[in-house]
């Protein structure tokens, strides 16, 4: 555990107090501090998780798993698949009724087949109570109709990665906190020959993250609280006009950018501002090339500007663990999850993932990973800034379909590139969304 300073103590106790308030709303056992499930006799588990983004992640996950096996005698076989491939595999397993006992999914996966998943409310209540409470957005992703159907694992942080010196030369002290300021920054960066670039191709990660922020920060949304498609609105048009101006400041080719493109352009020095996870910084820091090592010192992680509502409205990838009802060893599975979510395992895993994943409960803010390198710290607080997919309606098959069909990305790309007027682009997005959100 980190050194306890007075500041840490005050922070921790207030967080814990808030956590108790949240956790008291969740179901829990009388002696929640000692929750443990007895694995079934002869239990063997299969876990399917997304393939690591950083080597340390997999190493530490396997080391923690080994500890679990030594402690309980339950063997765990861990399979890895690319993150985009895990999602359909989970759906197939749910449909077919056999497969891995536990799968680490993303976004609204559990909400597409909630009746195939084991209720983990008791486990979630215990962990929430013990570790300061779950972040709101994690609770939204993990619960359905008041029951926990998945255990949130964390958020892949995505921030405004920028060259500190270039931003300074453009006349700014960091990423501006408001939308007009951000646009001015991008315009100034372009004028200085150090332009920004945000992905407008079918970039499932980075593209979705920034277009959702764009739409939500202008007060627009895809669906309203009743599930009616609400994207065709003046707020959306305002967002798209903003996007048009932003696009003028981007480096060429962003319409073709998939997820790796902005990493490549940034590391090559051609792009000075983009939205990405901690991977750009990590690649520069650990590179043997001196030029990249120098760049690593010049990399900064800025928060997304805040829009018209005055509150952050960001979108990042959220991952969670699902236990399937067809599993022959649900108790072993829950005990495995409980073990892996306990502080020793979660903290060590977060540290070895060098800040790639931000933990799902508020105690994660105490992890040393956030202070070992000051450039990591901005990623600590991302979870509280998030809205969930399909805002402002509930998660489910419609929200998953709308995201996979890249409706928002295409809308912003069409308007920004001038292929459609903002109004036309919003109407087209409305028609496309209505095919999925038919009540």
């Amino acid at each position: 555990m980190p050194k306890i300073t007075r500041r840490e103590f005050v922070k921790t106790t207030t967080v814990a107090a808030a956590g108790v308030a949240v956790a008291s709303a969740l179901p829990r056992r009388a002696d929640a501090a000692d929750l443990s499930y007895k694995p079934e006799k002869g239990a063997k588990l299969r876990l399917l998780r997304w393939k690591r983004f950083v080597a340390g992640d997999e190493e530490q996950w396997m080391a923690n798993t080994k500890k679990f096996t030594e402690k309980t005698g339950v063997e765990v076989r861990v399979d890895n698949e690319g993150w985009e491939d895990v999602r359909p595999k989970a759906a197939v397993a749910a449909n077919v009724g056999s497969g891995p006992d536990i799968i680490l999914g993303w976004f609204d996966d559990p909400h597409q087949y909630p009746d195939k998943l084991v209720d983990v409310s008791e486990l979630a209540g215990y962990i929430g109570k013990k570790y300061g409470g779950w972040y709101d957005v994690c609770q939204r992703y993990g619960t359905r109709d008041g029951k926990w159907i998945a255990l949130p694992l964390g958020v892949i942080g995505n921030l405004m990665v920028h060259r500190i010196s270039h931003v300074k030369a453009a006349g700014f002290d960091g990423i501006p906190k408001d939308l007009p300021g951000f646009l001015k920054l991008c315009q100034a960066l372009k004028a200085k020959g150090t332009p920004a670039g945000l992905a407008l191709g079918h970039a499932v990660g980075d593209g979705n993250d920034w277009v959702h922020w764009l739409v939500w920060s202008h007060g627009a949304k895809l669906v309203d609280e009743k599930g009616n498609v609400a994207i065709n609105s003046p707020e959306t048009v305002a967002a798209l006009e903003y996007a048009q101006q932003l696009y003028q400041t981007f480096i060429p080719g962003t319409l073709s950018w998939l997820d790796p493109h902005n990493n490549k352009a940034f590391l090559d020095g051609q792009c000075s501002l983009t939205n990405n996870g901690i991977s750009i910084y990590y690649a520069a820091k650990t590179s043997p090339e001196p030029k990249l090592k120098e760049m690593a010192d010049d990399i900064g992680h800025g928060n997304w500007p805040i829009g018209v509502s005055g509150k952050p409205t960001n979108f990042m990838q959220v991952t969670q663990a699902m236990v399937f009802k067809y599993s022959k060893f649900p108790n072993a599975a829950k005990e495995y999850l409980r073990f892996m979510w306990e502080w020793d395992q979660m903290d060590s895993w977060m540290q070895k993932s060098i800040g790639y994943v931000t933990g799902p409960y508020k105690a994660q803010e105490k992890s040393a990973v956030w202070t070992v390198d000051p450039k990591h710290t901005p990623f600590r607080d991302v979870t509280g800034t998030l809205l969930d997919n399909g805002y402002a309606y509930k998660l489910g098959a419609a929200s998953a379909a709308a995201m996979a069909d890249a409706i928002l990305i295409d809308m912003v790309a069409e308007a920004a590139s001038g292929q459609q007027t903002p109004k036309a682009a919003a109407e087209r997005a409305e028609k496309r969304a209505q095919r999925y959100y038919k009540i």
Binding site: L200, G201, G253, L258, A265, A404, D405, E414
Partner: protein
């Protein structure tokens, strides 16, 4: 049992029964791995199955919904343009290549093996290579042209809808020429040299020899090769998925990639199956068109027309 043994020996001696028995393994394989999935896919298109739950029969609702979807029609348009352009280019360049390879060249076998490489290399690998070649920041083509002073800005191969389509067509043509070339080459070699000699003796120019001897005799082969080529191009998936994922703004989405995007990440299995099913009429049309081109004329087999 005597009657059983008699039946068995009758079976073993009956040509029809034996024939059916020998076909059984192949038929079983085809049924399980081809007919059943095809049938299931076609059936799915008439239900509302999603990845999370089984569906019920909904008739043509999916097709009616797709009829009003601009992205679906864009994918149909893209598929036709992509197939037509790539097939014409592959045919022209493949035929030309076959004619050249038909001559007496040094290292003929080596050349023919090298020519086949683009087709043999796994598509995903060549797609990744093209992904780099067409990159808007790191393209080797842009780099070369810029060094030569011919352009001042890197070419936006994949960001502009028209450029993206042309780039993918180019990648598909590069990959597909060997198939057409080698097949047509095989066809060229079946044409008897005595026909060419006779034509030359009659004073035919090279072009006339091609037009009156080579091409007519090649027609059946062309029909088969181009049918396969059109079918493979129409259903192309890997190139598009790796290089653009259907972007920018769905300008390179083919029906196959859109079907996948809707069905698997999107979870709308029935809709994806409907899009895939919508490809079938066009494919059958292409097959029928070339089937009538396949019919060999009697004079090709040495009989007279009378």
């Amino acid at each position: 049992m005597p009657s059983g043994l008699a039946l068995l020996s009758r079976l073993q001696n009956s040509r029809n029964a034996l024939g059916a028995l020998f076909m059984l393994p192949a038929a079983a394989l085809l049924l399980v791995f081809l007919t059943y999935p095809l049938g299931l896919g076609a059936w799915l298109g008439f239900t509302d199955t999603t990845i999370g739950r089984p569906g019920r029969f909904v008739g043509t609702e999916n097709f009616r919904s797709l009829f009003q979807d601009s992205v679906f029609w864009l994918s149909v348009f893209n598929t036709f343009v992509y197939t037509a352009a790539a097939s014409v280019l592959k045919f022209g360049l493949g035929l030309w290549l076959a004619l050249i390879l038909n001559r007496n060249l040094p290292f003929k076998s080596l050349l023919r093996a090298i020519i086949l490489l683009p087709f043999i290399v796994p598509t995903v690998l060549s797609a990744i290579a093209f992904w780099w070649i067409f990159d808007s920041q790191f393209s080797v083509i842009s780099w070369t042209l810029q060094r030569l002073g011919l352009i001042h800005h890197y070419i936006d191969f994949l960001g502009d809808p028209v450029n993206a389509r042309l780039s993918l067509i180019a990648a598909n043509v590069w990959r597909g020429i060997p198939f057409v070339a080698i097949s047509l080459l095989a066809g060229l070699q079946t044409i008897s040299p005595s026909l060419y000699e006779a034509a030359t003796l009659d004073g035919a120019t090279p072009w006339q020899r091609f037009r009156h001897v080579t091409f007519p005799l090649l027609t059946p082969i062309i029909a088969v090769v181009m049918t396969f080529s059109v079918l493979l191009t129409f259903t192309d998936f890997q190139l598009v998925y790796v290089i653009t994922r259907g972007g920018p703004m769905n300008a390179t989405h083919l029906m196959a990639t859109l079907a996948f995007q809707r069905a698997i990440p999107g979870g709308q299995l029935a809709e994806g199956a409907a899009i895939a099913g919508a490809m079938v009429p066009f494919l059958i049309g292409a097959i029928l068109f070339s089937y009538f081109g396949l019919q060999r004329r009697r004079w090709q087999q040495g009989a007279t027309d009378a």
